[in-house]
């Protein structure tokens, strides 16, 4: 039962749940397609990108960093860093995908987007028994919307003057800002790492070629997060050892 992705009933439920997010994805990906056209991507490349990687942030990173220099490595590294959160998304789907074969697990995971994941988790919380077909149906809708939107935007073939006139050169920055707001957890956890990341990125921007300054900033921020966690851990252990009264916060 749960070993199949092709239960049409469940797929239909999943697809319906993702219709409204799908509309938003359609609009959003239209902009991405227009930017891809600006970046001189070929149509086959664009479609392959949409189908090969599910995750608008990777496309946004690639477009943002495209032709900063001939060096493509920073795009791979930055794409990796921004996509890491999908490891946690995948981990949270362990239960839903449990009965699938390895290849079906891999396929279902490949297709999963933020929207289809969120709808599946919500369905699981409501119904306590959501199926992989639900996730798959929703994912199909999102990926279709994403690809169609991209292709539509690509064929709109706006030139640079149009892009600026419509404010579209701001689009990717806007997307990243929204993502940042969605990713923010708390001052305690995020303020220091993000401050360090921003500082190091700004300081290294001229010193490092291409997009490497972003990687430097990200690494510095991650190290700061690790250092803060280490510090908090030591404080907690010291307080526990001293039998301290009062709340002890663990990271």
């Amino acid at each position: 039962m749960n070993a199949s992705l092709l239960s049409f009933d469940q797929m239909g439920r999943g697809a319906r749940a993702c219709l409204v997010p799908g509309l938003a994805v359609l609009v959003f990906s239209f902009v991405m397609g227009a930017l891809a056209h600006q970046a001189h991507w070929s149509l086959p490349y664009l479609v392959a990108f949409c189908l090969g990687i599910t995750g608008a942030s990777v496309q946004a990173i690639a477009l943002q960093m495209w032709s900063n220099s001939a060096d493509l490595m920073p795009i791979l590294v930055a794409g990796f860093a921004v996509h890491l959160r999908y490891a946690l998304i995948a981990a949270s789907l362990r239960g839903v995908l449990a009965e699938l074969s390895f290849f079906r697990k891999a396929f279902a995971l490949h297709m999963t987007s933020d929207s289809s994941w969120a709808m599946t988790i919500a369905d699981e919380r409501r119904n306590k028994g959501t199926t992989p077909a639900f996730l798959f149906g929703g994912s199909l809708v999102i990926i279709s919307a994403y690809t169609l939107g991209n292709v539509g935007g690509y064929f709109a073939a706006l030139d640079m003057a149009d892009m600026r006139r419509w404010g579209l050169d701001f689009a990717i920055l806007g997307v990243f800002l929204c993502l940042l707001i969605a990713l923010w957890r708390s001052t305690r956890v995020d303020l220091l790492p993000w401050f360090v990341a921003a500082l190091v990125a700004c300081l290294t921007k001229n010193a490092l070629s291409g997009g490497w300054y972003m990687v430097a900033g990200a690494l510095a921020g991650a190290l700061a997060a690790g250092a803060a966690a280490l510090h908090a851990d030591r404080k907690a252990r010291a307080a526990a050892a001293a039998g301290g009264a009062g709340a002890v916060e663990r990271t």
Binding site: A81, A90, G174, L183, V196, Y213, G226, D233
Partner: protein
């Protein structure tokens, strides 16, 4: 598209799948190490900050206003498409109004 660019695409696709399968099978182990987990969780946000802040600083006032509008919309609506389009529209309007940059 050059061979290098196709190789990049293939690498990104492989990387994405690797991350997802890794998370599915190894997620449990990460949860046991608080410091590793803290670093892991911090990376996506830190990368985006490292990208956004220098970019914003290099834009003029129009960029900052559009960014502020995007941020407010996102905080209120929690909808990425609406917020992004709001920022884009703000940028377009500011330029139409003749405000520089």
């Amino acid at each position: 598209m050059t061979n290098g660019e196709w190789l990049l695409l293939a690498s990104l696709a492989a990387m994405a799948l690797f991350i997802r399968l890794g998370g599915l099978y190894a997620g449990r182990y990460l949860e046991r190490h608080a410091i590793g987990q803290a670093m892991f969780n911090a990376i996506p946000g830190c990368l985006l900050v490292a990208l956004v802040v220098p970019d914003l600083l290099s834009r003029g006032v129009t960029g900052w206003i559009a960014a502020a509008i995007t941020a407010v919309l996102m905080l209120v609506t929690r909808n990425m498409t609406v917020s992004m389009m709001g920022g884009v529209a703000a940028m377009a309007l500011l330029r139409v109004a003749g405000i520089a940059a």
